[in-house]
């Protein structure tokens, strides 16, 4: 599969001396939805800003559909749409004018029909002549999305699109992202919401302290996370596992006082019932039991904490 974006050894050190990115390598596949997770100040926005031309890289390269973002910036920028994190809007302008302006700015001939369908898609059509300052925060966010889509980009960056957005609009946004993906647009979004990444992303990347600490297919990640553990506290510590229980994925911890059973939640049967029956049959008394599932959030937190 061709790469929509190829980030190579990208480093950014600001004048203040802060290094926001440490030689990041990242390939973004054509047509995928990539979710970038990371705490505040991890470097997500810096990465996006460099690709879009707002920030200059200190070293390293970025190729957008094979074009260099510095030597061939006109080509790369016309392929990209950006919805920044902050609500930057021309308060005194009308919705229609500001979206039309964006299209022209990106070198496209006026196309009122396209702008109309965009505004209708984003439920902004009845507000097309309204001044932007009269709109609610969620509406302004949609205006920014309309601006970013006005020049029919092949790649869309959404920097925290659902921060401070109500549940309904978030669902709308997810649907919109789904439709865009259907039309072949590559989408990169940053988010704080793990749930959001789970819901819509094809791949998930985690950035922390300017480094890409993980990038994986979401399904693969979910499969790994699909493992669940049953912890059984025993009345009497065991020296070894009884023979009859060898078919289970069991391990003894705590000097034999605790038995841990790992199982796959995706499997048809968890095997918990039969394990308990077998334990009973072997005369092993269970004092207490608990189950635990590691979530994307746990992995995320452990990655981020581990780097601290």
């Amino acid at each position: 599969m061709q790469n929509a974006i190829s980030v190579q050894q990208l480093t950014k050190t600001y004048d203040s001396g802060l290094t926001a990115l440490h030689s990041v390598d990242l390939d973004i596949h054509d047509g995928e939805i990539l979710a970038l997770l990371g705490p505040n100040g991890a470097g997500k926005t810096t990465l996006i800003s460099i690709i879009c031309g707002l920030v200059r890289p200190t070293s390293g390269n970025v190729l957008v559909q094979g074009h260099d973002i510095q030597t061939d910036y006109k080509t790369t920028r016309s392929l990209i749409g950006l919805v920044p994190q902050e609500l930057h809007v021309e308060t005194f302008e009308s919705v229609w004018n500001t979206v039309t302006f964006s299209r022209g700015l990106f070198g496209k001939k006026p196309n009122p029909a396209l702008v109309e369908s965009l505004l209708k898609d984003l439920s902004l059509w009845d507000k097309k002549d309204a001044k932007i300052m009269t709109l609610s925060g969620g509406m302004k966010r949609r205006v920014m999305i309309a601006k970013a889509l006005s020049h029919e980009p092949k790649i869309l960056f959404l920097d925290e699109p659902t921060a401070g957005v109500d549940v309904e609009l978030r669902k709308d946004m997810w649907q919109l992202i789904g439709r865009l993906r259907q039309s072949g647009v590559t989408i990169i979004l940053t988010t704080h919401y793990i749930e959001e990444a789970e819901e819509i992303a094809d791949r998930v990347g985690v950035i922390n302290k300017g480094r890409l600490v993980l990038i994986e297919e979401k399904n693969e990640l979910m499969r790994k996370l699909g493992k669940k553990q049953l912890t059984l506290e025993l009345h009497q510590a065991l020296q070894t596992l009884p023979e009859g229980l060898s078919q289970y994925d069991l391990s003894l911890v705590d000097g034999g006082a605790t038995l841990v059973y790992s199982y796959d939640t995706q499997a048809a049967r968890s095997g918990i019932g039969s394990l308990l029956a077998d334990l009973n049959r072997s005369g092993i008394a269970v004092k207490d039991l608990s189950t635990k599932q590691s979530s994307l959030e746990d992995i995320f937190v452990s990655l981020v904490e581990g780097a601290r």
């Binding site: 600001y14 004048d15 879009c52 031309g53 707002l54 920030v55 200059r56 910036y73 006109k74 080509t75 790369t76 920028r77 016309s78 990209i80 950006l82 920044p84 902050e86 930057h88 809007v89 021309e90 308060t91 005194f92 302008e93 004018n97 039309t100 302006f101 964006s102 299209r103 022209g104 700015l105 990106f106 070198g107 496209k108 001939k109 601006k147």
Partner: protein, 253 residues
């Protein structure tokens, strides 16, 4: 050349003028009329003619230059400062446009506005005093050249300024005094000799003088020197703007 982008910026900027018609047109016309009343009537009663020209008519080119300079600078500096202030500049910086296209769009719109304004003031002046323009084509040429040059200058100020005070600083502190001392309301021959020499270092003198020549066919300094001086200033402004985009000065980190 991204012509669509130039057009988009230009049209967008011009639409801001339509929205703020009152501030953009009415107030400069009103203040110019006040100048006419104060200078033309009060002072004109004491000075009948300057270099054989009726004083009321004599100050018309200077008054137009004053408005042209102030408005070119304020239009252009505000035009680029405002997107920086509200953050919408991100869009221009992420767009497939080069510095030339951005400058043509923003400074072009600012220059257009001040040229329109200059012509309105000329028409207003016509109501107060008799006017005859000796070299109309050159008059328009001076008007355009000055408007473009000072729109570029305003653009530079707009990029440089990081607060509203700085935006006002240079126009208030430097440009207005230079205009008043640049022979807008008098001929430098009316000054003592030392001050005549000092005035020769004021770039506005060359603008006003050249512009006045296009009206009356006579001026303080030669029209060629005037043209060269405006050309030098235009080139200087263009170089600074080019450098600003090249280095990303206050635009890209």
């Amino acid at each position: 050349m991204n012509l669509q982008a130039i057009k988009a910026i230009y049209v967008y900027e011009m639409s801001r003028m339509r929205r703020t018609l009152l501030q953009s047109i009415v107030s400069p016309v009103l203040s110019t009329s006040l100048y006419f009343v104060v200078f033309g009537t009060a002072i004109g009663a004491r000075i009948e003619t300057v270099e054989g020209i009726h004083y009321g008519s004599f100050i018309v080119p200077g008054l137009i230059m004053l408005t042209l300079l102030q408005n070119s600078i304020s239009n252009a500096s505000f035009g680029i400062y405002f997107p920086k202030f509200v953050g919408t500049i991100y869009e221009v910086l992420s767009a497939p446009v080069n510095f030339l296209e951005i400058v043509i769009g923003y400074a072009g719109a600012a220059a257009t506005k001040s040229i329109i304004l200059g012509l309105i003031i000329l028409a207003t002046a016509h109501l107060f005093v008799p006017l005859h323009i000796e070299h109309p084509v050159l008059m328009v040429f001076f008007l355009v050249l000055t408007a473009v040059t000072f729109s570029l200058f305003g653009f530079i100020i707009g990029i440089w300024a990081d607060n509203f005070e700085k935006l006002q600083l240079i126009p208030m502190l430097i440009v207005t005094p230079l205009v008043f001392l640049g022979g807008s309301f008098y001929s430098i021959e009316m000054l003592p000799e030392t001050w005549q020499t000092v005035t020769l270092f004021n770039p506005v003198l060359y603008l006003v003088s050249g512009f006045r020549w296009s009206f009356f066919g006579q001026s303080d300094v030669s029209v060629h020197v005037s043209l060269i001086m405006i050309g030098v200033f235009l080139l200087a402004c263009m170089s600074i703007v080019w450098w600003m985009f090249k280095t990303g000065y206050k635009l890209r980190t």
